[in-house]
């Protein structure tokens, strides 16, 4: 078991399902025997605001929140949120960005601009960046709402946690009727990231 704590930062927009993702990853870390802490946001920010969940696991974890420049991986459900939280990534960390744009209010109303090519610019700054259209992949699996589980698959591949454990956690947390789609979505996500890694 690595002594070092692994820090996973999951960011997105309220309502995108970041909570389920962090809970699945945390559950797997528990099953693997790690000390685990997760920090979540409830309440007002969930109404369409910028949300973050933080998962930390290792031999012994103190703080439930991740320091700036300390995240091993940043998983963003939305492009702009990836940029907002980028300072939390440690040098040499990985970024996974869902190719989804959700305009915040100042952009929708035309007051501010959604920064152009923000995902590509992140990719230029951070060599280990993967951009994925998880919503489309989830659609192909049978339900666009499983996009968060596609991202779980990618995350699992990126931080090297065993697939069976994740699948068990998904079985526990996802209602029976949505299970098949979700397992499929998970495997697709995993495959996608592994394929990208092999290309590097």
């Amino acid at each position: 078991m690595p002594k070092q704590t692994t820090n996973v930062l999951i960011v997105g927009v309220g309502g995108q399902g970041t909570l389920l993702t962090s809970r699945i990853i945390a559950q797997v870390a528990v099953q693997m025997g790690y000390d685990v802490k997760v920090s979540e946001i409830h309440g007002m920010a969930q109404r369409g605001g910028s949300v973050v969940s933080q998962v930390r696991y290792g031999e012994k974890v103190y703080s439930p929140i991740i320091k700036k420049s300390d995240a091993d991986i940043l998983l963003a459900f939305e492009k702009l949120e990836a940029a907002r939280w980028l300072d939390y990534l440690k040098p040499g960390g990985k970024v996974i960005i869902n190719d989804e744009r959700v305009d915040p209010l100042p952009v929708m109303s035309g007051k501010l601009k959604y920064p152009v090519d923000i995902d590509k610019r992140i990719a230029n700054l951070i060599p280990d960046t993967t951009i994925v259209d998880a919503t489309r992949m989830a659609e192909e699996c049978g339900n666009s709402r499983a996009a968060n589980v596609v991202l779980v698959g990618m995350l699992a591949a990126a931080i090297n946690i065993p697939a069976e454990e994740v699948e068990n956690a998904i079985r526990e947390m996802v209602p029976a009727k949505a299970l098949e789609v979700n397992l499929k979505a998970f495997r697709e996500g995993q495959k996608y990231l592994s394929a990208t890694l092999n290309r590097l």
Binding site: K37, V38, I41, H42, G43, P64, P104, Y114, P115
Partner: protein
């Protein structure tokens, strides 16, 4: 195997294991999940009370009646419950009572960041502060014993970060403590002056005994390390500190009131530099200073907001914030906003158009204060809107009141809007009050309340009839309208504002998140008809957005729930139903 639990679930579990049979609360972030989790344990009593004062009073009765009782609320809720709390401290308990105060440093979801450890000092009751979910469970269990042993309510003080962080917990078995015998004991429980004077003597004795207890309790512990710095801390700050300075000497306080003076002095004597690390107010620091100890605290750490590991690292180790990516200047903020289809949007759109002075209240609709709706003049605390509107009128006269409305949610109205409405009637105000009745307590995650007709366990109960209640108070003009029927809503509002009598408009439509069925139609913007006026954009719905390239509005079919608001706002009838 150990389980992950958020702090709030662990507190509920601790109360369950301690044998509690009654739990009561009014929902409020970050405390809500405590009693909603307790309600999942079968065979025990759990309730949503109409407000925190009632919750605590039910708790007082249950405790005197012999049941171990858990009462939970957010920090500002304790203000509402402060009246029974201070005197309950005098009567003491029969069976143990634990009051959870969930503070919100950083104001993630609150209107202030008061530090409720102060209540412990004023009410002379023990305050216990856990630092992770395991401690939340263990300390809650122990708090019931302390409550009974010292005949006092006990405050368990937590913060948002503890309430909403999951950490590993080993659960235990429930102890069936049963009910304590109830015996009438008027000198103990009837607080009229003659009896209360005697109880005050007991309170002072009790706090001295608790001081002794604090010296030896396992709640407080010393962790020796490098003695050049010794840090006294509590709660989640302890975890941040350990994260960045694993080697320093620490006195970790689990009991933050009363403080263990001897223990602290002995710790201080061993270390070269003594520092208190506490989020928010210098509650511990000031007591140490009063004892004449040389200690640093708020000259190092801020009084503002939530702490973090990097903040402590910066202050104590001089490691300053690491270099940024340089992207941050151009990232537009993403404030929270009302959901697509939210009934409140129709109300705030209208208030803005009519240029009214809006006395606001606490709930999702407080978001109506933000751009682009910009629809609120003042918002202070639960229930304040109605009293404020009356005050505005009494200061500025009846003519001015024709431009003032109070806006309050259904749950908030039941919480503390009824008595100010009585004041309006009694003192002949002419206020116009809009009750936003969306049939739930939405902001905190959709809890039931007396006017939804369902209990905490989703069982049917007698439904509070809001129109009948308002009429019984003496309001003669009560109107019920759908806030998304803009013309009708506006006309109603104009009529009631013009009337020189008090009136209540119930803007009735369920919260958009409660509507489970898919929309029966779809809208689009006809680019031929769209005249680029942006009126529809100014309602601030994520279902419709602006495309600068061709200067047209566009509906996003994935987020629009076809509530029909923006088509009414568009004066060119450019927003149409997709045929077929």
């Amino acid at each position: 195997m150990k389980k992950l639990m958020i702090g709030n679930e662990a507190i509920a579990r601790g109360a369950y294991e301690a044998g509690a049979t009654v739990a009561t609360a009014y929902p409020g972030t970050p405390s809500t999940e405590i009693v909603s989790t307790f309600a999942d344990y079968e065979g025990l009593y759990a309730e949503w009370a109409p407000n925190e004062k009632v919750a605590l009073e039910v708790g007082v009765g249950a405790s005197i009646g012999g049941a171990r009782t858990l009462v939970a609320m957010k920090h500002v809720g304790v203000n509402v419950a402060a009246d029974p709390l201070y005197t309950f401290s005098y009567t003491g308990v029969n069976a143990g009572l634990v009051l959870v105060s969930a503070d919100d440093p950083g104001m993630h979801s609150s209107q202030n960041e008061q530090d409720n450890r102060g209540y412990g000092r004023f009410a002379k009751m023990p305050v216990i502060e856990p630092a992770d979910s395991q401690e939340a469970l263990d300390f809650t269990r122990l708090a019931f014993d302390i409550s009974e042993e010292f005949d006092t309510p006990v405050m368990l003080r937590v913060t948002t970060r503890l309430s909403h962080s999951q950490t590993l917990v080993e659960t235990g078995e429930r102890v069936e403590v049963g009910l304590k015998d109830y015996k009438k004991d008027a000198p103990k429980y009837v607080m009229l002056p003659g009896f209360a004077r005697l109880r005050h003597v007991e309170v002072e004795k009790r706090i001295l005994q608790l001081k002794e207890y604090a010296e030896t309790t396992e709640l407080n512990r010393m962790e020796w390390g490098d003695k050049s710095i010794g840090i006294i801390t509590s709660g989640v700050s302890y975890q941040y500190l350990r994260e960045v300075m694993p080697e320093v000497s620490v006195l970790k306080l689990g009991m933050v009131n009363p403080l263990p003076e001897k223990l602290i002095r002995s710790f201080a004597a061993e270390v070269d530099r003594l520092i208190v690390l506490e989020e928010l107010e210098p509650v511990i620091e000031e007591q140490l200073k009063a004892w004449g100890l040389k200690v640093e605290g708020k000259e190092l750490f801020t009084l503002l907001g939530e702490y973090s590991p990097e903040m402590i690292e910066e202050v104590l180790l001089g490691i300053s914030s690491r270099k940024g990516s340089g992207l941050d200047q151009e990232i537009p903020p993403r404030p929270p906003l009302m959901c697509p289809g939210c009934p409140h949007r129709g109300v705030f759109h209208t208030l803005k158009k009519m240029k009214l002075h809006v006395m606001g209240d606490i709930g999702c609709y407080t978001l109506g204060a933000l751009s682009p709706l910009d629809g609120m003049d003042a918002c202070v605390c639960m229930g304040a809107s109605i009293g404020m509107s009356l005050g505005m009128e009494k200061a500025n006269g009846e003519d001015f009141a024709r431009k003032v409305v109070a806006v309050i949610g259904d749950s908030t109205f039941v919480h503390s809007g009824i008595t100010p409405l009585i004041d309006v009637v009694y003192n002949q105000g002419t206020s116009t009050v809009i009750i936003l009745d969306n049939d739930t307590t939405a902001m905190t995650g959709h809890q039931d309340h007396p006017a939804t007709g369902k209990t905490i366990r989703n069982l049917p109960t007698r439904k509070l009839d809001l129109p009948a209640l308002v009429k019984a108070i003496g309001i003669e003009h009560v109107r019920i309208v759908d806030p998304l029927q803009l013309d009708e809503f506006r006309q109603t509002l104009e009529e009631e504002l013009n009337r020189r009598e008090a009136s209540v408009i119930i803007a009735k439509r369920p919260c958009a998140l409660l509507v489970k069925k898919a929309p029966d139609k779809e809208f689009y913007v006809d680019p031929e008809l769209c005249k680029s006026c942006k009126l529809c954009i100014k309602i601030g719905c994520t279902g419709i957005y602006w495309v600068e390239e061709n200067r047209k509005a566009v509906i996003n079919p994935n987020t629009c729930v076809a509530c029909g608001l923006c088509p009414q706002v568009c004066t060119f009838e450019a927003i149409k139903i997709v045929e077929g």
